[in-house]
Symmetry: C2
Subunit: 314 residues, 2 copies
Amino acid sequence: MAPSPKLLAGVELGGTKCVCILGTGPDDVRAVERLPTGEREETLRQIETVLERWRAQHGGVRALGIASFGPVDLRADSPTYGFITSTTKAGWRNTDVAQRLGRRMGGPVGFDTDVNGAALAEGRWGAAAGLDDFAYVTVGTGIGVGLIVRGKSIFGVNHTELGHIRVVRKPGDTFAGICPFHGDCIEGLASGPAIEARVGMPASQLPPDHPAWDFVAHGLAQLFHSMVLTTAPSRIFLGGGVPGGQTHLFERIQQELKRSLNRYVEVPELEQGIGLYVVPPGLGTMAGPLGALALAADAEAATAIPPLVTAASR
Amino acid sequence: MAPSPKLLAGVELGGTKCVCILGTGPDDVRAVERLPTGEREETLRQIETVLERWRAQHGGVRALGIASFGPVDLRADSPTYGFITSTTKAGWRNTDVAQRLGRRMGGPVGFDTDVNGAALAEGRWGAAAGLDDFAYVTVGTGIGVGLIVRGKSIFGVNHTELGHIRVVRKPGDTFAGICPFHGDCIEGLASGPAIEARVGMPASQLPPDHPAWDFVAHGLAQLFHSMVLTTAPSRIFLGGGVPGGQTHLFERIQQELKRSLNRYVEVPELEQGIGLYVVPPGLGTMAGPLGALALAADAEAATAIPPLVTAASR
């Protein structure tokens, strides 16, 4: 097919703000528009206004990608595919996002969680470029995990919610945790608000030698222990506000992870020297909007008509 | 393509015995031969002798499937693809299985772990028929987990080893665990040998009202909590010697799982009444050998030349 001059459009729909993006990748971002995530009908209408303006200005868009806060329904055969489902965000429960915006735009639509989108963007354009199997973990106001297996995000009847697994506590860690569902799941123990609840000050202000970091590193290492024994990512990209401001965490987590796995699985990056297995991502705050563009690109590719394949050409 | 009269061959390579199977599925098993898993060269030669005899008798086989004890290398682009790698079984470390048998047989070869094979067989012919996303868990001399996502087993740089995740202990459970690597990982806490080490008698003889079952059910529910929040299987099939002889475990585990998830993820099968989410598999001891046949069928399908696809037929 001849290359099309049209662009891809993306929407990162977050719990507090939306980012609409137009372009084809990090080196070709034509427009970015930010909106607050407010009342749902008003918010979706504002997004539609932006997308329709871009469509009019550029003669259409090739595809739309949406990376959304959750929980969302990702099962293509479900009547509520593309919906935000049982969210605790007021007024957003059972909200059709992808079907509605897809009808409006007309072309292929990709839809996934915000963290899966960010993971896909890191794999295409960021620190995970060239890797097929990896994990993207963000530790900030919550803990989100995107798992990429053979280049795709994975999910079953629900998407990954690994931030809510329960982890073995480091001896001496008696903090009750702040998760309203689980108390001391990993998000309840090691997210930014959890750290602030532990020590009475923001995580960013906590000195690296504060003993709370031992508990945080231990908990995150337990999360990663389970991940190594599940989808076995070739590397874990750890981003978000907490590790971003406390880079000592990377080595601590890897030491704890190595100790916990105890060579049951031989991860070369853990044996060859600390610092190569749990690493920072590359796209920073652009991972989310670029994730929406990556979803658009994948949706376009999935609906493209392939060239004829003959027995002789295989 | 016209149907071929030839058959599929499978090898379930276990730690103590091998089962060679010839046929096309559970209703069409033409031959089964069992061999002890002994010295590696002798064992592989015995397998080759069986396979070559079948090939001579039936004019070849369409494909071969191998479901092996591990750890194994499943990465198709790896030089040691199809090898048993860092096993603790004496004399079997770094053993080429799939490449060797594949060269001998000439046709397509499928290769996976024994538990992934069993899971695929349950999905094709057993209790998981019709499901695309599910998990198969066996609790016996060890704890093995097969995760099927979109009809395929998943793996990254290693295959799933979920039996070795560390789980939160039920208050009062002070058993040290028996895993030589991790002590009280779930296999160290709840496998058959672990239960016997807890109570001094085989799990099969332990009365259902023994308090050890509360600890076992709690531990397995923690494993399943993590699985629900990772690949989110639509159902978990729980087999192996321990639950097979102690059917009260199913309800106990589901009660613990429901309590632990605390409605963070709404699993309809857990809400609509206990007993529908964690269920027995259907193929019993034939799951392993039939898993090898399922891998053969998948290998054949993957190498088949597809019919021409034209734009008009899409």
